[in-house]
């Protein structure tokens, strides 16, 4: 049905002064005209949805569409320290990846919608805003510290997050990332970006699963929506 994916490196902006660092991307790339940038969810949800996203990309490959799934600096295979990453840096990274891979469409997944480059048409799949992402991660820390017999309040955790950064559910969130997430709204859905909700895709939301799971029917549905739209416009 489809070829294998490859890992390639791409130059990701590193700070604001024009430096770049090498980050990895998983690609199905045969130099075709239709090219989809997949922006992964943030933090733990990226792990839960990776299988689904790679399966979607494999299906698109079979429909003559190239797709690229870049690592966010500090996540997945990246060697950059997560604690030093910022939302602004991640946005610049995804914009650079869109240019480098000559993406013609974007699929932003969950919190990935916060990083969607302006001016690129595509889809937000069940987008999640920054406050909601933080709320759940701070709550996880509250439950874990209570369980460990060293209870903390949300106020204490938030104050520490803003001042010096904090580990939430094993993820090192720096102060700039923390405060940016507190205010990060999903960018507006203009005509060229459509909202894909779980009802459209069907099945159970995979990001909710306590253990990562996979559902081929959801991969079929996502790929079908994207392939039909991208081929129509071609």
């Amino acid at each position: 049905m489809s070829g294998l994916f490859k890992f390639v490196e791409w130059p990701c902006p590193d700070g604001g002064d024009g430096d770049t660092r090498s980050e990895a991307a998983l690609v199905f790339d045969r130099g075709r005209q239709d090219r989809l940038l997949v922006i992964p969810p943030l933090f733990e949800e990226a792990n839960k949805l990776r299988h689904l996203l790679v399966e979607v990309m494999a299906r698109l490959d079979g429909s003559e569409i190239d797709a690229v799934l870049p690592d966010l600096p500090g996540c997945n295979e990246s060697l950059a320290p997560l604690a030093q990453q910022t939302l602004t840096g991640w946005r610049a990274g995804m914009a650079a990846a869109a240019r480098h891979f000559r993406a013609t469409r974007v699929l932003a997944v969950r919190g990935g919608a916060l990083l969607r480059p302006a001016g690129l048409a595509g889809w937000d799949y069940s987008p999640q805003d920054g406050p909601k992402i933080l709320r759940s991660m701070v709550r996880a820390r509250i439950i874990a510290s209570k369980e460990a017999g060293q209870p903390e309040t949300r106020e204490e955790i938030e104050a520490k997050g803003r001042a010096e950064g904090i580990a939430l559910a094993g993820w090192q969130i720096g102060p700039a990332m923390f405060t940016a997430l507190e205010n990060a709204a999903v960018p507006a859905h203009r005509d060229e970006v459509s909202l894909l909700d779980q009802e459209t895709i069907g099945g159970r939301p995979l990001w909710l699963r306590a253990e990562p799971d996979y559902d081929p029917a959801q991969a079929d549905a996502l790929a079908a929506v994207i392939a039909v739209a991208m081929r129509q416009q071609a």
């Binding site: 759940s136 991660m137 709550r139 996880a140 559910a169 939301p205 306590a210």
Partner: protein
Amino acid sequence: MTAQTSTPTDPAGPSRTEIDQKLRAILRDVLGLSEARASDLAPDSGLFGHLPELDSQAVADLLTEMEDRFDIIIEDDEVDGDHLETYGGLLALAEAKTATS
């Protein structure tokens, strides 16, 4: 927490059956249960501390999903160990919150 009526038309909020069904659906999604196993959840079915996959992040996501689907806000100090330990505890939390919201 006060006792609630089971009348479906209770103006104080959704019926107990409705809350119970919604909560089972959330746990089905979180734990990947079949419909049958989700229906089998009993008040004393163990959750946090009994199911290894239900770690603190999974429980936090579960509470956040409850907020979304029930349209409630669960304050951190409203949740104690008893609410999370069993299905009955979690259901009591959902009932208390939907009655007051």
